[in-house]
Symmetry: C2
Subunit: 312 residues, 2 copies
């Protein structure tokens, strides 16, 4: 049961400093967090690139969760993408200290022939040109969702706008949504983005949760619950390391959608709730450590608590 899901994105060595400590060259990257989060719900197909320095223990982390690494390119003599960042104060945003793209800078994703009929495709943050090249390789996917970032909104806006006409959903953070739409109000920003092509947009607001806006029936001025859903963040007493929270959110969301095989508005809302809860575990430890030792029954139990909070 469940539909097939492929993710294309980065795999990285992260060096992270938070008020709770510092870790050097731990496993990270958007596709890594996404895969580990989505794998609680369905098998995941991972397309990414690493260097020869990628250790077998990191590969085992992925494979122990039944993430299919047949799409993982290993560049001979290459070095894996490195990112260094730190978090301060309320830890809402990472301060990037250093980036070494290495093999990720020349990444040309190749979807293995056997994966070209995958039902759900997630294009993790990457250049919209590269993201479009991935879509050229898949046949009639049921659902395509993309992430993006300020860099591409700023430097490759036209390519991004072209891409938006080819995706069903866009996931991005609040600052990026404002930048893409030119609207301060996030509901207005989301409505404008939906006007650019996607059927739905999910704006991630970190600790403040997420906002879903979806095209529905005809809109006549005011909002209806058919089209808009704000979900609060899960209330976390301790945020250890926020790295990967957004990608874990997307992974939980897409993983749930693949397992449900249904993309109507109610399913999207439930998928966001699963994404929220999955991400709330990610931030409880450095890197992917919490995801590594997480079990689906813990996710389900926290979802139950979260749902209970929102009943009135």
């Amino acid at each position: 049961v469940g539909q097939s899901l492929v993710v294309v994105g980065s795999i990285a060595f992260d060096t992270i400093r938070t008020p709770h400590g510092e870790v050097p060259e731990v496993l990270g990257g958007s596709a890594t967090y996404f895969s580990l989060a989505a794998a609680f719900f369905v098998p995941v197909r991972l397309v990414g690139v690493v260097g020869e320095d990628f250790p077998s223990e990191y590969r085992r982390v992925l494979e122990s969760r039944c993430i299919d690494t047949a799409g993982l390119q290993i560049v001979p003599g290459g070095r894996t993408f490195r990112w260094s960042g730190s978090y301060h104060g309320a830890m809402n945003e990472a301060k990037t200290e250093d980036v070494q793209l290495n093999v990720f800078g020349d990444f040309r994703p190749v979807i293995p022939e056997a994966w070209r009929d995958t039902h759900l495709v997630f294009l993790a943050n990457g250049s919209p040109v590269t993201q479009a090249a991935v879509l050229d390789q898949v046949r009639k996917p049921h659902l395509v969702v993309a992430d993006t970032m300020n860099l591409w909104i700023d430097t490759q806006r036209e390519a991004l706008l072209d891409l938006l006409k080819r995706v069903d959903g866009l996931v991005l953070n609040d600052g990026e949504a404002r930048m893409l739409s030119g609207e301060h109000n996030l509901v207005a920003a989301a409505h404008k983005i939906v006007g650019l092509g996607p059927t739905f947009v999910v704006i991630k607001k970190g600790e403040h949760g997420a906002l879903l806006v979806s095209r529905g029936g005809p809109r006549v001025g005011s909002l209806t619950s058919e089209l808009v859903c704000p979900l609060p963040g899960y209330p976390s007493l301790k945020v250890f390391d926020p790295t990967g929270a957004g990608d874990s959110f997307a992974g939980g969301m897409m993983g749930y959608l693949a397992s449900a095989g249904n993309y109507d508005f109610r399913s999207l809302v439930r998928a966001m709730a699963y994404g929220t809860v999955t991400a709330s575990f990610t931030i409880e430890d450095f890197s992917v450590r919490r995801l590594e030792r997480l079990c689906l029954d813990e996710i389900d139990e926290r979802l139950r608590l979260y749902r209970g909070m929102l009943e009135f």
Copy 2:
């Protein structure tokens, strides 16, 4: 049915500038917004002070909603409190342009003898010394909730800490909660504030909603839904004027609690939902204009939509 509710706070002439326009000396003040919001649920007793310049039409706005103004002091020859502010960009915060305390500067609240057994007391933002003086005048209220602000946290911390031992609930915004607790994480901040005396605290986060933390059974490390509830803001496509949103939230919340006559955790959550929805109307027009023409069935209809959004 319903219990009695008294509010003590400011009544003001607001001069407001937003990207949508500018209005001079319109009706405002914390007790004004609170009263108009709470009055949808129960009769409200208002204690405040104005000058001789307070026009009868503003008084009619209050009285047309059955707000009892027997506690309204009119200072002969005095001028009403004036506040001027502007909103920019995402309009999350007011920029104060001018403040003239006038008669509010010497405000010594007097609770009319007939009101000293009021069941619910809301101490809108004011000096904690003044707020305590109000509590000295009421006999065994069922529920006392206070608001505060950065000024008092900064300049009258000891008096505020004394007050917190005498109230059941505290309502304040996110920046104030961080300032009072010294904690960046809002869940941690709320837990710390609950440790200072109140049974519950509600942290207002503007467009991002509100967070409730309440003392419950014994806490053993992790959170339970018994104790914590985050609610998202109502998704508003257009924010016309955010002035009074926080006070309308508190008014809707306290009004609902008075009408329910029950203050358990589930009632607090439902009260927050009513507060959220009531405030979402306030911001749709300048000053109290939207509240003036609002009806309870509109609040109930929007609550139904809001509840529907949060079902998954």
